[in-house]
Amino acid sequence: MILTILASFLLISGSLFGLIAAIGILRMPDLYCRMHAATKAGAFGTSLMVVGLILIMPELRVFIQGLLIIIFFYLTAPVAAHMIGRANLLREKGEADSSET
């Protein structure tokens, strides 16, 4: 029962973080700020839901795969953000260069 409530809480709050991420990328003023929201809240929301799932379905497969997803997420999301940010930086720099010349 407790587990059910906890899982429900995690699932719903996970979804809510997904929503926050979405609102974030819609409302934030520029790309970098949007990336804050998307990278952090997106990964977090999904991870919460995975945890909720693991709680309510106590099976080895769920646990392993769920953990894999979370690790993978937390490993790749920052790298992805880094790549986008870097590319944007380079692009802005390039535009600046070309406008100078």
Binding site: I12, G18, T46, V62, A80, N88
Partner: protein, 96 residues
């Protein structure tokens, strides 16, 4: 192959779906309006994350654990897509 469908109030899943639906819509919106490529990539990444959340819900509603496989594949491939786009963004200015 199929596990027992966990005892979870249906309302929970429905609420989650509604929330995710709204989130999806909003990120789709950002995807459409852009304005920069980076914005779109970020939005697409978020869509992928929301899709993964959805697959988790699907595990709950069907008891079919392998939906997690899709989520995993999605995680892998969405990372690849993002990186590719980012590389492309860098290269773009070098091209005529």
């Amino acid at each position: 192959m199929f596990s027992e469908i966990p005892q979870l109030p249906e309302a929970v899943i429905l609420i989650c779906r509604i929330i995710l639906g709204i989130a999806l819509f909003l990120s789709g919106w950002r995807l459409f309006i852009g304005p920069s490529l980076g914005d779109r990539i970020v939005a697409l990444e978020l869509v992928a994350a929301l899709m993964m959340s959805n697959f988790i819900l699907q595990v709950l509603s069907s008891g079919f654990i392998s939906y997690l496989d899709i989520a995993l594949a999605l995680a892998v491939i969405s990372f690849l897509g993002t990186v590719a786009f980012a590389r492309y963004m860098e290269n773009r200015r070098q091209l005529p």
